[in-house]
Amino acid sequence: MVPPEYYLLLSSGLFCIGLFGILTRRNALYFLMSVELMLNAANINLVAFSLYWGNLTGQTFALFAIALAAAEVAVGIGIILALYRNFGDVDVMAAATMRW
């Protein structure tokens, strides 16, 4: 097995790339894609340690996480639709009315 540190580095790198996308992207769809990236980074971690500990729980859990990510994207798309309807734009920075 490849030493687990590399898997950890990979997953944290992927996570931070997803985070980068969240922090800089303005289009809501790209925002969602970045969230997907972050979820998958967690999945990588789960699978890697499933192999490390020799227990299938990690992989099964990762399967569930994938399914949930899909569900979450479905809902997210619906939210983006509502966002568009109310603000006329999918720019996440445009929806700033819940402020002080």
Binding site: L19, I22, L23, T24, R26, F31, V92, M93, A95, A96, T97, M98, R99, W100
Partner: protein, 676 residues
């Protein structure tokens, strides 16, 4: 076995209940709380008489009802409420409750029948006052006495300012409160000094502060004195501090200015509070603490001098007054001056005797004035009156009885008591210049008193009616005439309780009942008797006319002669069909007397001198204290205002904040947990 002493708290609480009842349900009651008040004070009167009889039967009582603060440490203090029933307080209880009952009955006529408004408040005020005064009378320690002292001052304020919708009464109430408060400030310092010096403020018992003071002066007991001051000097200072409150409450010079203005209150209030009971509180306090005061000759001399001076000073001011109640107000100040003279001169019994008789005849005179005021439709100017004696016989005869007592004419009550005070001052004043000065001034005040008293009587009741209302005065009912009659009889006969001159001249033993009473003859508390005070007191008797009997007779003759002279002068000037003002004959003194020796203006001037100090105190309070409080709140407001700007509503900012916080947390945990 039920004793009267079990019911002592009820004496105080019954009027308090009537206060509460009048306050909350008075407006629904037929007489707005009057019947409740009458019932309560009559109940207290009956209980007080029972207590008096119990003390007469050989009991005296001291009981602590509630310890409300207990100190810890090497010198523990105990602050408590308790009752002290001995001959003096039993006597005072009867006096206060009797006059309170009569005033309540009189108020039915003066307030209810005249259709006054806000009567529940009035009866509530009377009830609270009666309860506070009775609490003061039974107080067994100085702190409790101080608390009730302040309470009666509050009630006085409330009742003087009863007609608060007019401009005069609230101002007068404020003045009364402030002037007495000024004196009470010194009283409070004195109370604290007593606690600091003796560790206790109890009036009676072996551990009371008068007993400890006596022991300290004999060298048996150690007491604290500040800065190593001599014990006698320190006791004098403490006595003078407490005297500050006495001077304020009993309207002695210089804190007398509030009493004439207090006449703005309803006349029954004047009768109860400013004649017979509240102003008596100061004198009663000195009598209660007499065992402490007699130890310090300087304070005694000061008391006598202040008293004598006030007697003369106020008497001269009463000469020129035009309003009925004003004459009586100055008369009150003057008579309390006599009591202080008596106390200062070592005449403990004489002063208490005068307190008793004065309570009766001054209340009588005020109630009589109230009756005249009702008749004259609230016109108090004596120059509008005249000829009322035919229209109002009951009022006239009782008022005359009170006036004869006030002027000190034999055989009315005032003669005996005033005469005894002057006698005590005379015989003790042989080697004490302060006392002798007090005696001289008191003696000079006798004709002045008789003069202004009978000027008042003649202008009001004799001669021809000088106005339409005086020709057809409003009739008064039984609720006015009843109390007047009771007090009229008392003013005439109270003298018999202490006919000391008769005893001494005729050699009959045992008729000086008051002397025996206050001497614990029938029972009392050890150490609170008049002979004990005489023993530890600083005075010795000298008889300037040779023997005791000769001095008694000579003193009585001199004071009676002066009183009759004053009466005669008033008769000549004012007992004519159409009297005129004779004040022009006073010459330059007229303006001085009219303006009360400019004492009111002087006190206002003094108060204005403190503006600088009070202004800086106000600035400190508003700037520093309020500034700190506002500053604390403004810190909160400002920081809230700044921090709220984090909520920009932009999701990206929130995500950024999350990320940064997560990073920071990880770094912190890593460093602490040694992950590296």
């Amino acid at each position: 076995m039920v004793t009267a002493f079990d019911y002592v708290p009820a004496i105080v609480l019954l009027p308090f209940v009537s206060f509460v009842v009048a306050l909350f349900v008075g407006k629904n009651m037929p007489k707005k709380g009057a019947y409740g008040g009458i019932a309560a004070t009559a109940g207290s009167l009956l209980l007080s008489i029972w207590v008096l009889l119990s003390v007469r039967g050989g009991g005296a009582h001291q009981e602590t009802y509630w310890t409300w603060a207990q100190g810890v440490g090497s010198q523990p203090f105990r602050l408590e409420f308790g009752a002290l029933i001995d001959p003096l307080s039993a006597l005072m209880l009867v006096i206060v409750t009797l006059i309170a009952t009569l005033v309540h009955v009189f108020s039915l006529g003066y307030m209810n029948d005249e259709g006054e408004r806000d009567l529940p408040r009035y009866y509530a005020g009377l009830g609270l006052f009666t309860a506070s005064m009775l609490g003061f009378v039974i107080a067994d320690n100085l702190l409790m006495a101080f608390m009730f002292f302040e309470l009666v001052g509050l009630c006085s304020f409330l009742l003087i300012g009863f007609h608060f919708r007019e401009p005069g009464p609230p101002s007068a109430a404020k003045k009364a409160f402030l002037v007495t408060r000024f004196g009470d400030y010194f009283f409070l310092v004195g109370v604290v000094a007593v606690f600091a010096t003796f560790g206790t403020a109890a009036f009676a018992g072996a551990e009371s502060f008068p007993a400890l003071a006596e022991g300290a002066l004999n060298g048996n007991v150690d007491v604290w004195t500040p800065g190593g001051l001599d014990t006698m000097t320190w006791f004098t200072v403490v006595g003078l501090l407490v005297l500050g409150g006495v001077v304020g409450k009993s309207a002695q010079f210089p804190l007398h200015t509030w009493l004439p203005d207090a006449m703005e209150g309803p006349t029954p209030v004047s009768a109860l509070i400013h004649a017979a009971t509240m102003v008596a509180a100061g004198v009663y306090l000195v009598a209660r603490m007499y065992g402490f005061y007699v130890l310090t000759p300087t304070t005694m001399g000061v008391i006598a001098l202040v008293g004598g001076f006030t007697a003369l000073f106020a008497g001269t001011m009463g000469l020129v007054k035009e309003e009925l109640k004003q004459v009586l107000a100055y008369s009150t100040i003057s008579q309390y001056g006599y009591m202080m003279l008596g106390l200062g001169a070592g005449g403990y019994v004489a002063a208490v005797f005068h307190l008793t008789t004065h309570a009766f005849f001054k209340a009588l005179l005020f109630l009589g004035a109230g009756s005249v005021i009702i008749a004259m439709h609230h016109n108090e100017n004596m120059w509008d009156m005249g000829g009322l004696k035919d229209e109002m016989p009951v009022t006239y005869w009782t008022f005359l009885a009170g006036s004869l007592a006030l002027a000190g004419i034999f055989p009315f009550a005032g003669f005996w008591s005033k005469d005894e005070i002057l006698y005590e001052a005379l015989i003790h004043g042989g080697s004490e210049p302060l006392l002798f000065a007090g005696y001289a001034m008191g003696l000079l005040a006798v004709p002045v008193t008789a003069f202004y008293t009978f000027r008042m009587v003649f202008l009001t009741f004799h001669g021809n009616a000088r106005s339409e209302i005086a020709r057809n005065p409003e009739p008064v009912r039984w609720n006015v005439k009843g109390p007047l009659s009771v007090l009229g009889v008392l003013a005439a006969v109270t003298g018999v309780i202490n006919m000391v001159p008769v005893q001494k001249v005729l050699g009959i033993e045992g008729i000086d009942y008051l002397h025996l009473w206050l001497d614990n003859h029938w029972g009392g508390i050890e150490g609170l008797s008049s002979h004990h005070y005489a023993e530890i007191g600083p005075y010795s008797s000298t008889y300037p006319f040779g023997t005791e009997v000769a001095t008694v007779l000579a003193g009585a003759a001199i004071s009676l002669g002066l009183a009759l002279a004053g009466l005669g002068l008033a008769w000549k000037l004012y007992n004519v069909a159409e009297p005129v003002e004779h004040t022009a004959k006073l010459g330059g003194a007229k303006e001085l007397l009219y303006n009360n020796y400019y004492q009111d203006e002087f006190q206002v001037w003094l108060a204005n001198r403190t503006r600088g100090l009070s202004g800086s105190a106000d600035t400190f309070d508003q700037g520093v204290v309020d500034g700190v409080v506002n500053g604390v709140s403004s810190v909160s407001l400002l920081s809230g205002d700044r921090i709220k700007r984090i909520q920009t509503g932009v999701v990206g900012n929130y995500a950024l904040l999350l990320t940064l916080s997560l990073t920071a947390l990880l770094v912190v945990f890593a460093l602490i947990g040694g992950w590296f």
